[in-house]
């Protein structure tokens, strides 16, 4: 029996879709059978981040309305045998999918997949409620900004009210240089405020833009720090213990100098 995990944030633009694509691809790279569901109807994006936009025939609404069989709408990934995408509808009515539809769909997918990763739309309206309807657990994505953290707090409250207890936090786009000079909230600040368990921290990394440009999730890029962060997050999703990445931006020379002077880097 597979597990349904919803990726959510409240605020838009903090990296829900990128996180979904990378965790999903990461799990598939670990040999798991994974399906990604884009529930952001009208604002479909997971397909382009995954580089699968040219293969779409049917979508989520086609499945729930019975225009096609579920199997027909699942798009097979280019890279991994066990990875599939169920894209959102781009042109149909936002209310075409109900919470019950999502529950039924998740139940069906559970039979065949190890992980069902649901990419949630921004906001707290019906689209959010639908996306979380069939989920077993939730991952909340935030960035180190007051607006994103505030919305994350609201989402955590709503998840818990909907019986998704103990969601876990992904802090995205952390800049170690800004944290170091005290101009960005650090990990402890955010954990302190939101009072939930940390799943992982993804540093700000140009490679994310580049990999999204290409439609290749960064988790597969062995040279990218964000990719390493996502590989670690993936393992933690699989309940393996992995230490946090050391996000130290200092160059080797500075470090050596500090050590010489007896200052800890």
């Amino acid at each position: 029996m597979g597990e349904v995990i919803v990726i959510t944030s409240g605020k838009g633009g903090v990296g829900k879709t990128t996180t979904t694509a990378n965790i999903g691809t990461g799990l598939a790279a670990q040999g798991k059978k994974v399906v990604l569901i884009d529930t952001d109807i009208g604002l479909r994006n997971l397909d382009v981040v995954m580089g699968l936009e040219n293969r779409i025939v049917y979508d989520l609404v086609d499945v729930t309305q019975g225009n096609c069989r579920l199997k027909q709408a699942l798009i097979k990934d280019k890279r991994f045998e066990g990875l599939f995408l169920l894209p959102a509808a781009q042109t149909k009515d936002k209310n075409a999918v109900s919470a019950d539809d999502m529950k039924k769909l998740c139940e069906e997918l559970r039979e065949e997949f190890d992980y069902i990763i649901v990419d949630c739309p921004a906001g707290i309206e019906q689209g959010f409620k639908n996306a979380i309807a069939g989920a077993d657990r939730a991952i909340v994505v935030t960035t180190p900004e007051v607006s994103a953290v505030r919305d994350a707090d609201r989402i955590i409250g709503l998840l818990e009210a909907n019986n998704l207890k103990r969601p876990k936090l992904v802090i995205n786009r952390l800049r170690a240089d800004m944290v170091k000079r005290g101009d960005m909230m650090n990990i402890d600040d955010m954990i302190d405020i939101l009072a939930i368990e940390l799943l992982g921290v993804v540093p700000e990394d140009e490679q994310i833009v580049i990999s999204t440009n290409k439609g290749e999730p960064a988790v597969l890029d062995m040279n990218s720090q964000a990719g390493q962060a996502y590989r670690n997050i993936t393992k933690r999703v699989m309940n393996q213990e992995v230490p946090l990445l050391n996000l130290d931006y200092e160059t080797g020379i500075v470090k050596k100098l500090k050590r010489l002077l007896g200052l800890k880097g």
Binding site: V146, R150, D153, R181, D183, I193
Partner: protein, 93 residues
């Protein structure tokens, strides 16, 4: 080293992350205090149950609300007492 330089250059302005954290903590106190009327009703009923062990109160005039001001959130209850209960025995006396 950086701290040392800062000390020489005089007192520094508060770092912006501390401002962010303080502002967030404050705004979340208010956000989280947005509780449902349902919760407030349940709280009222529980309060009545406890207080009537000790005194007779005017249940219809009872008011319970959350007050937000700039710095804090307070639970304010206005509970008119009709009379004290005679049969209360102070066991510790």
């Amino acid at each position: 080293m950086i701290d040392f330089l800062r000390n020489i250059l005089g007192k520094e302005a508060p770092r912006s992350k501390n401002i962010a954290k303080e502002r967030l903590q404050l705004v979340l106190v208010h956000d989280r205090a947005n509780i449902s009327p349902h919760l407030l009703e349940d709280l009222k009923e529980d309060l009545i149950r406890v207080i009537t062990n000790y005194m007779e109160i005017d249940e219809n005039a009872l008011e319970v609300q959350l007050n937000n001001d700039d710095q804090s959130v307070a639970l304010v209850a206005n509970i008119p007492v009709i009379k004290m209960k005679r049969d209360y025995q102070d066991l510790r006396a």
